[in-house]
């Protein structure tokens, strides 16, 4: 799924400019890091892809869809094709690991037997089979993030968005999460990941988009956290 930002500016009321005149294109199957200091506009950019935020100027399109013109009734169907992982995991605390993953498919009226098969499959994929019946509060941060990844994978999305997925995790856990994200990308899914994690970007070089004060200041293929 291609992502295209054309002259995108986002101004939050009263006059906070989060993103300024961003033009970029992410091609299908790419793995892209979005880096930058806190407040540089990374999350706003990510939220514009998930359509939690609309651009003030310009347009964002994903595949053939112009997100700004999308009807509110079309949003859920769009989001079902986009797997989202957040820094704070966004899991439903009273549901078990299995139920959190299964829930995504249930909203699409997938029959229970197929829900069970697919949920177990993605839970296995992130290595949480033994934690299947635990609630998020019984899991470590790394495990919770794996649940979030499993949930994002449940609908076999063609676009995977990760907003600082290693933000709350130690080096080893971050490394494990990164390997899972790379394996997802290897299966042809476009992955867009915002991060502050220098070692991750340096260890697993991919295309880097750097934001500073809302502007896109670097777009480098295979670059590290800092420009060469």
């Amino acid at each position: 799924m291609n992502i295209k930002f054309s002259g995108v500016t986002k101004i939050f009321k009263p006059d906070i400019i989060a993103v300024r005149d961003v033009d970029l294109e992410i091609k299908r199957g790419e793995f892209v890091y979005i880096i930058g200091a806190t407040g540089s506009g990374k999350s706003t950019l990510i939220h514009m892809i998930t359509r939690e935020t609309l651009p003030t100027k310009g347009s964002v399109s994903v595949g053939n869809l112009n997100l700004k013109n999308m009807k509110s009734s079309e949003i859920p169907y769009y989001r079902r094709d986009v797997g989202v992982v957040a820094q704070d995991f966004k899991l439903i605390s009273h549901l078990t690991v299995f139920e959190n993953v299964a829930f995504v498919m249930e909203t699409m009226s997938v029959p229970p037997n197929l829900v069970k098969y697919r949920a177990d499959k993605v839970i296995d994929q992130v290595g949480l089979r033994r934690r299947r019946n635990m609630t998020p509060l019984q899991l470590s941060g790394g495990e919770q993030q794996r649940v979030a990844i499993a949930r994002a994978l449940a609908n076999t999305p063609s676009l995977f968005i990760a907003d600082e997925p290693t933000g709350n995790l130690d080096y080893h856990t971050s490394d494990d999460i990164m390997k899972i994200l790379l394996s997802i990308n290897a299966s042809g899914v476009t992955v867009v990941m915002s991060t502050h994690n220098q070692s991750i970007v340096d260890t697993y070089p991919q295309r880097v988009l750097e934001l500073s004060q809302g502007r896109l200041v670097r777009d480098e293929q295979g670059g590290g956290y800092f420009p060469l």
Binding site: T53, S72, P76, R79, K90, L91, I92, F103, V104, T107
Partner: protein
């Protein structure tokens, strides 16, 4: 079918997790519906009493000697306020007068020829229209004079108006309180799950899918509240009627089991509909405000 199954399961989860607030809402809704039901039954009884009194109201119209009373009666019968018209012949009128005078009826023999003319006894449908009817009759050339109990008519009409206003006020008040309680409960229920709702929306659940369990919760609470109220009415109204009838046997009270059962069924349906409408409004408003993009 599968979606319905998932939605019903989520509704059950919400009701179980929110049971304390739900229980309080149920009690409040039941109490309000009970008051609403009893107030309506009370009003039904007042209306039926007034209707009976009104149907006993008679306007007496005296017909000119040259006019045909039957033709006049036919013309009056066509007026919408009129329930029935009876022509009273001079002989009948004299017989009535004699009966009313009792032992002094002999005085009438001194007059010789019957001095009474034809008159019409007009029964009306409601007291409020009597003044207009009298004006109408007075304007008819065939009518010589009109006699009616002006004060009684006016009082009945004003009592009927007061009863109508009191019922309407009670009805509106009960509906407002019940709606407010259901609205707030569902709003609290939604608010306490706003994080969850955001997550659901983010992973592709539709507004309808997210909102339906909350709407069902509100409908269920109102339905159960109305059911409890209906049972409460059955267990309080009939003993009340029996007590009243033994104290005031001349009073005719609505106590037909079939009518009361139908009324209770209507109350339950009304309660469920009210809950459904309130829950739909609050859930949709919440969904729109929560899921609006920045």
């Amino acid at each position: 079918m599968i979606t319905l199954r998932y939605i019903l399961r989520d509704t059950l989860r919400i009701v179980v997790r929110n049971w304390v607030l739900g229980f309080l809402t149920l009690l409040t809704a039941a109490a309000m519906m009970w008051i609403l039901g009893l107030a309506t039954l009370c009003s039904m009884n007042i209306q039926s009493l007034l209707l009976r009194l009104e149907s006993d109201l008679i306007v007496q119209a005296y017909v000119h000697k040259d006019s045909n009373p039957e033709n006049v009666a036919i013309a009056i019968r066509k007026l919408p306020i009129v329930a029935d018209v009876r022509a009273i012949s001079p002989d009948d009128a004299l017989a009535r007068l004699q009966a009313r005078m009792g032992s002094q009826a002999g005085v009438l023999n001194l007059i010789g020829e019957n001095p009474l003319g034809w008159s019409l006894e007009i029964h009306v449908k409601t007291a409020s229209g009597v003044q207009g009817l009298v004006r109408n009759l007075m304007s008819m050339s065939e009518i010589e004079d009109v006699v009616y109990s002006g004060m009684v008519v006016e009082r009945l009409a004003s009592m009927s108006k007061i009863a109508d206003s009191a019922t309407a006020t009670m009805f509106l008040l009960s509906i407002m309180i019940t709606s407010l309680v259901v609205y707030n409960t569902i709003h609290i229920s939604l608010y306490s799950r706003r994080e969850e709702i955001n997550i659901m929306f983010l992973i592709g659940a539709t507004r309808a899918y997210i909102a339906t369990p909350f709407v069902l919760e509100g409908t269920l609470l109102s339905l159960l509240g109305a059911l409890i109220a209906a049972l409460g009415i059955i267990f309080t109204y009939f003993p009340g009627v029996r007590a009243l009838q033994s104290a005031l046997p001349f009073l005719e009270i609505v106590a037909d089991t079939r009518v009361i059962t139908q009324f209770c069924m209507l109350l339950v349906a009304f309660g469920a509909t009210l809950g459904w409408i309130c829950s739909c409004i609050v859930a949709m408003r919440f969904m729109i405000s929560t899921t609006k993009p920045l």
